[in-house]
Assembly symmetry: D2
Homo-oligomer: 241 residues x 4
């Protein structure tokens, strides 16, 4: 199974940002490190500096893409966003982490504003499992806690998720649908809220469990060549689409 991790990788290179201490080699490396321990996963990474490596061929060869971005969403070329969007509709799985709610590929997949309220405040988040039967929640207790994270709050401007797997509770008084799934074309999409760049969240055992589960859940069972194609078959014409 081929996994591709995209990370903007800018905060971590700024010596004035706490992220440079927490993730000196980048969030993508932290995620790759624990995913590489899974024998069935072949893990690659890409960053904003090398974003053009996300070609159509690479995406065709990718089962699941993970995406972390924040302050440089606009610097991802539209053509890359479109390639990612189409790859999901053609069957590739996609997992969007934290501030990727405003990334181009996620917004294109949702079709909405993806707005939310937010506050930087070291609040503790308790992440509740709302759908204990869901494969993404496998092996978790009824909740797990993130000692400090940026606070995200409702209303979250997304289409009604197919499943709300997690709902987050923050000490500051907010709630948030912290884990949501959607089917988009032939591809499965998962959004997971924890993961601010200045906290060691991607080293957390439960967060890693969720991401491992999500990667396997998002694995495509069916892929097509062109989600945009509208065939014009003759009457009663069989064959697969």
């Amino acid at each position: 199974m081929n996994v591709l991790i995209y990370n903007e990788f800018r905060h971590e290179k700024d010596p004035n940002c706490r992220a440079s201490q927490v993730y000196p080699e980048g969030i993508h490396t932290a995620i790759a490190d624990f995913l590489k321990k899974e024998p069935d996963l072949n893990v690659r990474t890409v960053t904003l500096d090398t974003v053009e490596e996300i070609t159509e061929d690479v995406l065709k060869d990718t089962d699941v893409l993970l995406w972390w971005g924040h302050m440089n969403h606009d610097d991802v070329p539209d053509a890359v966003a479109e390639r990612v969007h189409n790859a999901v509709l053609n069957g590739m799985g996609a997992i969007f982490l934290h501030s990727a709610h405003k990334s181009k590929p996620f917004m294109r997949l949702m079709g909405t504003g993806c707005s939310l309220i937010w506050r930087e405040s070291d609040d503790m988040e308790r992440v509740w499992v709302a759908a204990p039967y869901h494969p993404i929640a496998a092996g978790l207790d009824r909740f797990f806690e993130i000692p400090a994270d940026e606070t995200y709050g409702e209303p979250y401007g997304i289409p009604t998720p197919e499943e709300v797997v997690f709902i987050g509770w923050f000490t500051g008084g907010e709630v948030f649908r912290s884990g949501c799934t959607w089917q988009r074309g032939c591809g499965r999409v998962f959004y997971f809220q924890p993961g601010h760049e200045t906290y060691p969240i991607f080293y957390d055992e439960n967060v890693q469990k969720v991401i491992r589960n999500a990667v396997r859940w998002a694995k495509p069972s069916y892929r097509i060549d062109d989600c945009m194609d509208c065939p014009n078959p003759p009457k009663a014409h069989k064959g697969t689409l």
Copy 2:
């Protein structure tokens, strides 16, 4: 518009229960009092002692039914639960309040266990508006607070709601989908979590606003005679069903 309020009315008659001070004339009377101020609403009440008054004829003449019950769910006769169930499927609106999540009509409409976790603890609840565009949220701020309520928590064993209008945050650390809607047959269903019998929640201005909004949202625009009927029409037979 004809509104019928069902209330178990047992806690309030127990002098050892705080409910007897908070709602000396019953929760149904407290709700009826503020709904009766609406000129377009014709409000009636019924309690467990008079539950057989909920006849098929009364339900046909009811636009929206509100239901509060707690410790005596089992004492509602199956025949009454079935009548209410069918009336909703035939088009009547239904609003289930607080512990009515385990009432017979609600459970029959959901088809699930409707389980949750709970704790009596005087926790404050902050009720967040997750769907600000929804008619049931009209006129509310981004959240409102209930100074003390019984705590309900996820996972809530319901089918995925069509809309999650409210999500509750509790000081004790729980979250809950506190306002949910479903279409069931021709009828609209709303569940609203606040409303423990020992707190003056039904005197709260925001709670009253939600209930008024919900009553109008649940008003049927279309009713049928028998949701159970499977017609056997000849080929290409028109007419309404």
Copy 3:
């Protein structure tokens, strides 16, 4: 994987009914015959005459239950229907075939009237794949045809399905959501419309493919003991539910 097939088995024992020629050993036997060829499936059958064999223990040991019933829905004891209902909510998968839309367990799971229109007429049905990415549609062409089946038509009185996998087209002019999925509690539910007792539909290669796919799709990944239980944990109490 343990599969249990329930079949009413009454039409097939009536010498005046065509079903006695088409399925001399019963629909359950026809289904069991092709499922038994799968090395990972352990297949058992039960009929209305032995319906009390559907005990709580048997259901705990069943991964997926298939259900075919028609004219004797009412003869299934309420206690059996309740056991099946609870087993699904606790995680067991369930597949309801054809006229099982009016069976007690299916109606309890849906919470609606499950009504439809119908006509016996030897109409051809063309079953279209509306969700080609769905595991239940794996290996199918864009549509398959059933030379003759009882016609079912919309409106179908079900809650909005999570996925409409198949939509049926009938020569007589009707359409029907012929393959639908729902999550109910921890269990997965699939309804599949083809399968009238007087036609050799369960010998059809495509129908068998759908049923094999559905059995594997419905396999539980998570089971609980009591979907009805509302735990009362102390504050911030962890553990699984």
Copy 4:
């Protein structure tokens, strides 16, 4: 209530196209003609030639936008598509007709490929009401027929609709989810499949009834200024969003 009708208006100006006889003054005029008879509707029209008239101010002043386009989707400027998209997310209702499934605003709202199969063949379509309780179906029989229309068929590459109001049956053997609704941000979206430019479909009494119903259903009850905004409120800050 302010209604704005967009029509590409190119087929109708081509003397070699049958549309020029059927809709000599354009599809927009045909739709405007019957909507103008409604005393509560203030109806305006705009075409591709004047598409820049669809300004942010005009959209703020529009309650419901109808959209018909076909061969010139690409000629609608991205900036206009973005304005329409944002206006819907901010609360404006939108109704997309027939080949508008591939229009820029619809595709942006859906986030999917919106693909389908099609065939020009004078097939009769029977449009079944799958959700008789839905306001958009008010006043219709169980089905209505369109004597000839372009055939559209499944699979239709859309996100699962909130409601499938209509399912179409075509004499050639196809089925299609011909009437679908979605909530997107604060706005309501309806897609309606009938309406090929070479047939007098917009003069049909039932089609007109559906469009009139849909206009009223899509009317916004709540509008916001900027669906893209992510506010950063201080802790426990009230106010509306």
